[in-house]
Amino acid sequence: MEKKLTTPITDSQIRTLQIGDEVLITGYIYTARDAAHKKLVEAIENNEELPFDIKDQVIYYVGPTPAKPGQIIGSCGPTSSYRMDKYSPYLMEKGLKVMIGKGDRTIEFNDVVKHYSGLYLLAIGGIGAKLSECVVENELIAYPELQSEAIRKLKVIDFPAIVAIDYQGNSIFNK
């Protein structure tokens, strides 16, 4: 049975989850890949305000295909998460709780997730058509110049994912 998660994600929700659990996420999540992460971290280093309140939020590593007229979003599956490992600690320091992407992360990242009592979720790669059906709102909120890598605020209903690193730093990849 899948467990339901509602954003923003609270510590009490996070503490009920173990690696391997299947979850369904409902609420607002934010998209960001490599280029947006670089900009967010630059903003933090320059003491600038972030384009959205990141506290207790969820970042989804995705760069969707453009929506056709009449569609909310194009294909929108996850990209590989390890490329964000360098940036994520800065964002978690600012309150980011949950990251969704595909594949393993560097082994040290388990401790980062533990340190911030966060959560790393896996979405299944390469099924962006199916995942697009969970997205009911899509608003570009920052860095439009990054094209598909711009930051979007998505509203999702029952977005499926699997717990890969839990708040205690256990990872599905090093069982």
């Binding site: 760069g63 929506a67 599956g77 595909k102 594949g103 390469g126 962006g128 699997i162 599905i172």
Partner: protein, 290 residues
């Protein structure tokens, strides 16, 4: 002298790409169905179901299978009897540009590896050429995702490492890639040639039809053994374990230097998109070919 019109190239490249991003070849679907039946790991089975369901949704809703609609790789086989009074590569790139800008595909190409400025139409494609006898132009095209390409590897082995050395290198590549290249995979292996030739062989290997049996018995045995051993690694769909790590292994070989044993492994993710067309040259006199 026979010609193929420039606009025929553009139209075919465009339509092949737009089809390929939402429809896999039947043989790939069949391989997923067969693997799903044999799969013993429930989570792996579940992921294979979702991959098949995704294919149906992509088809019925006319939406790309995957958000990474790739960097376009193109193998062009050019009949020696053909004559071109235009730039073939330019025509292919116009087709690519039209597919990505008009087909709502993601533009994933940057102008320079370090300036990271998007070219905004997914050009240029990486194009390889070969000459063949006759008057046909065969275009193989594949929008290749970054995730699986990033986990591909190349190594100049020492000849003494031999067959076991090759097998070990392939298995290491698949294991260390884990879930990142989106398994189940098609594993393309190039052996021999030199540094760049083995990479080319590996890339060509992933575009071979799945039921295409290599004539060379050495390569064929290697394909069979690798397939078996890769599927025992328990990498599984998305790296979460299972019997289905790859649906095919294709090995291409070429003569090489007495001192070398080059090996390249190109990984193709489960979104194994590709297309091909055979165009036949026509006698055209003084026609406006543009």
């Amino acid at each position: 002298m026979k010609k193929i019109e420039r606009k025929t190239i553009i139209e075919n490249v465009k339509s092949m790409l737009m089809d390929s991003v939402k429809t896999l070849h039947q043989e790939v679907i069949d391989a997923f169905v067969t693997s799903r039946e044999k799969e013993r790991n429930p989570l792996a089975k579940n992921i294979l179901d979702k991959i098949l369901e995704n294919h149906e949704i992509a088809n019925s809703k006319d939406i790309p299978l995957c958000q990474d609609t790739g960097l376009v790789v193109c193998f062009v086989e050019i009949g020696r009897e053909l004559y071109f009074d235009y730039d073939l590569d330019e025509a292919i790139n116009v087709g690519v540009s039209q597919a990505y800008t008009q087909g709502y595909l993601r533009k994933s190409v940057v102008k320079h590896p370090l300036n990271r400025i998007n070219t905004l139409d997914n050009t240029p494609a990486v194009i390889h050429h070969e000459f063949i006898p006759g008057d046909k132009l065969i275009i193989h095209i594949a929008p290749k995702g970054g995730g699986s390409e990033n986990m591909s590897t190349l190594k100049m082995l020492s000849p003494s490492e031999g067959r076991e050395g090759i097998i070990k290198f392939v298995l290491d590549t698949v294991t260390s890639g884990g879930g990142r290249p989106c398994p189940p995979l098609i594993v393309g292996v190039g052996i021999g040639g030199n540094f760049e030739k083995c990479a080319w062989l590996a890339k060509k290997a992933i575009l071979r039809p799945l039921n295409d049996l290599t004539e060379n018995p050495i390569d064929r045995d290697l394909e069979i053994e690798l397939m078996e051993r890769i599927n025992k690694l328990d990498v599984g769909p998305m790296g979460l374990g299972g019997d289905t790590t790859c649906i095919a292994v294709k090995v291409n070989s070429f003569p090489c230097h007495i001192a070398s044993l080059p090996v390249a492994v190109n990984l193709q993710c489960h979104s194994a998109r590709k297309n091909e067309v055979i165009l036949v040259g026509k006698e055209i006199d003084n026609a406006d070919n543009r």
